[in-house]
């Protein structure tokens, strides 16, 4: 009984250790990799900074202090919300992140939904109809899905469905002239629903489809294959035979009793894929001119905006760790054996 509690505590501890490690990694990226303090100051202040500005910068960030001490100063700044000023927007990068993150979270939610909606049925069908024509068609689709880079999918979708057929908008989050829903969470998908602003909601959804699908295609292929393999394995087990011989209808058997044990290996990869959307969205946000966190990060990288780069890596890492911890919990709820193995 205590296994589950133990397991949760253990996963939380792992999560916190990972966050600590992430902070060290990001610190190295922020303070060590750029080179000497002067190099770093030039990187953070821009190439035209004066000598006195560079000296002030070095003093302010204690760049001449020993590295462990610098780390403490840096982490203090992170916790007190002092993340440094962005070269491009001239604001605290934390403010920027808070402003740009919701648009990417919209994308992430939509991608997560699309992946599940497509890969679960495909995986179940392919597994149940193993080695039939349908299975082979799905296999070909998954091969192509894995091999085509997301930015190529994005360009093709934009060109054919957006530009040629006018089925979907080509760029942006909302059509011109449509006001965003009242700001509560910043996520249009959620704000639109809460405030009942369905016009904006539908419009936002319509804009989300192409970018989300570009991001979802690779994961869809991956997840379908994993689910198919698990279904193939589980349908030859005794419990499936028992359920079949009890006369359980095929539909119920597949969607309920076969799905639950088979979906577990898929969920871990699913979580990894969904939380990677933040990183993989870089190219897709660029192509669809999506005003999100990843495009902000990409601009920061291209303009060598050090503080912003650091903020982006840190926030993406934190979200990634949170997502993975959450999935570990879910998996342990679905499959008690996991927490029994890990909880001791």
């Amino acid at each position: 009984m205590n296994y589950a509690v133990n397991y949760v505590l253990k996963r939380l501890a792992y999560g916190i250790i990972s966050l600590f490690g992430l902070s060290i990694l990001v610190f190295v990226l922020a303070r060590v990799l750029p080179g000497t303090p002067v190099d770093l100051a030039r990187l953070a202040l821009g190439p035209n900074a004066s000598i006195s500005a560079i000296n002030t910068f070095i003093d302010e960030l204690h760049l001449n202090a020993p590295l462990p001490l610098q780390y403490l100063y840096w982490i203090e700044g992170i916790f007190t919300g002092n993340w440094g000023i962005s070269l491009v927007t001239k604001r605290n990068v934390l403010t920027d992140v808070i402003e740009f993150l919701p648009a990417t979270l919209d994308l992430l939610i939509m991608t997560a939904i699309i992946i599940l909606l497509i890969s679960v049925p495909l995986g179940l069908v392919a597994g149940r109809m193993q080695n039939t024509f349908v299975d082979n068609v799905i296999r070909v689709i998954t091969y192509v899905g894995i091999a085509v880079p997301s930015f190529v999918v994005a360009i093709l979708l934009q060109l054919f469905l957006g530009y040629d057929l006018h089925l979907f908008p080509i760029i942006g989050q909302l059509s011109p002239g449509i006001a965003p829903p009242p700001h509560i969470t910043g996520l249009y998908l959620i704000d639109g629903l809460i405030t009942g602003d369905f016009g904006a909601w539908v419009n936002a959804l319509w804009h989300l489809i192409l970018p989300s699908f570009s991001l979802a295609l690779g994961p869809i292929a991956q997840e379908t294959r994993i689910l198919r393999a698990a279904v193939v394995e589980n349908q030859n087990r005794d419990f499936t035979l028992a359920e079949t011989s009890h006369g359980l209808p095929e539909g119920l058997l597949t969607t309920r009793y076969l799905l639950k044990p088979s979906i577990i290996p898929m969920l871990t990869v699913y979580a990894l894929d969904v939380s990677s959307v933040i990183a993989n969205a870089f190219l897709v946000e660029l192509i669809f001119d999506w005003p999100g966190f990843s495009r902000y990060g990409l601009n920061a990288m291209l303009s060598k905006d050090l503080n912003a780069i650091i903020a982006v890596v840190l926030v993406a890492g934190i979200l990634f760790i949170i997502a993975n911890t959450l999935v570990d919990f879910t998996v342990s709820r679905l499959d008690p054996r996991v927490s029994e193995e890990m909880g001791d």
Binding site: S18, F151, V152, I155, I226, S276, A279, F282, L283, V312
Partner: protein, 298 residues
């Protein structure tokens, strides 16, 4: 790439070295994997012989011929020419060079340390350095590879070497984790205990007794990862953080050529097809290797 954990369950603890014939027989049975292997050999040959077999080798470097720009595919230029009048086919062939160099270097500097660390951590499981290694791996896994690679490439100057280092930094822990999880199981097998009883050194046990049993899943992962490395390399170049121009790089060609869509489609479509084919070939090969080492043929 994750589903390897699933696949690896099928790997029987057998001595690989004595069974080449059997493995080749199993591999040969899978026509798609043979196709993948054939494609990869073809692409590597093209890359290696690029300066001699490509129709216009000068197109790979600093070369401008405006009189010949934006020509559609023809017999003289099977893939057409780009906005500077360079032959797209030549640049695709040279692009393979860059892609395969990237794959070779990145996997070369990640697989060996990654596997070694995983072996050590798995063999000495629960000792302090084992815990340290695995926590380190967890931390690097916590940042998505593309993000880490982008960040490193942007903080440092974007040279080919830095790009490779950046991707490698994000890559090693996956090997460590894979090998670790298998080593912790295999170390309790009877043949490992027997070797220990006979007084074999830990080094011998790790590399000669345990490692051969993990080759199947490691090779499968290498093959699948080769596709991913090319993908990430292309993504880095797509946003301009990859190899500097005029290096013929497939990602850069797609990104620069996409401006000319849809009228001059050949500039970006052929490099895109090339990328897709390489990744597909590596995936087919990976599946073949996995089936080759698994106990049953599906």
């Amino acid at each position: 790439m994750i589903s390897l954990v699933e696949y690896s369950k099928d790997v029987k603890f057998s001595k690989i070295a004595h069974n080449y014939g059997k493995y080749w027989y199993k591999f040969r049975n899978n026509k798609l994997s043979l196709l993948g292997l054939g494609l990869i050999i073809l692409f590597i040959a093209l890359a290696a012989l690029a300066p001699w077999i490509s129709p216009y080798p000068s197109s790979a470097g600093l070369y401008v011929n405006f009189a010949n720009s934006l020509k559609p595919p023809s017999l003289a230029h099977p893939f057409g020419t780009d906005e500077l009048g360079r032959d797209v086919l030549t640049r695709v062939i040279f692009g393979f060079r860059y892609s395969f160099t990237l794959v070779g270097v990145v996997l070369g500097i990640t697989v060996i340390p990654g596997v070694t660390l995983g072996l050590v951590a798995g063999y000495y499981v629960k000792r302090w350095f084992s815990v340290l290694i695995m926590r380190m791996a967890d931390i690097f896994v916590a940042v998505p590879p593309l993000l880490l690679a982008l960040a490193v490439a942007s903080v440092m100057r974007p040279t080919l070497l830095h790009v490779m280092l950046a991707i490698s930094l994000a890559w090693w822990p996956w090997y460590t984790r894979l090998v670790y999880s298998q080593t912790t199981t295999i170390r309790n097998e009877d043949f490992v205990r027997a070797a220990r009883l006979m007084g074999a050194s830990p080094i011998h046990i790790m590399f000669s007794e345990i490692l051969p049993n993990e080759l199947g899943s490691i090779l499968t992962k290498i093959s699948l990862d080769a596709g991913w490395v090319i993908l990430i390399g292309a993504a880095l170049s797509f946003v301009g953080l990859g190899a500097p121009p005029p290096t013929p790089d497939l990602g850069t060609m797609i990104s620069e050529g996409s401006i000319y869509l849809p009228n001059f489609w050949w500039i970006s479509v052929f490099p895109a097809i090339a990328v897709v084919l390489v990744i597909l070939a590596f995936n087919l090969l990976g599946d073949g290797i996995r089936d080759m080492f698994s106990s049953s043929i599906r």
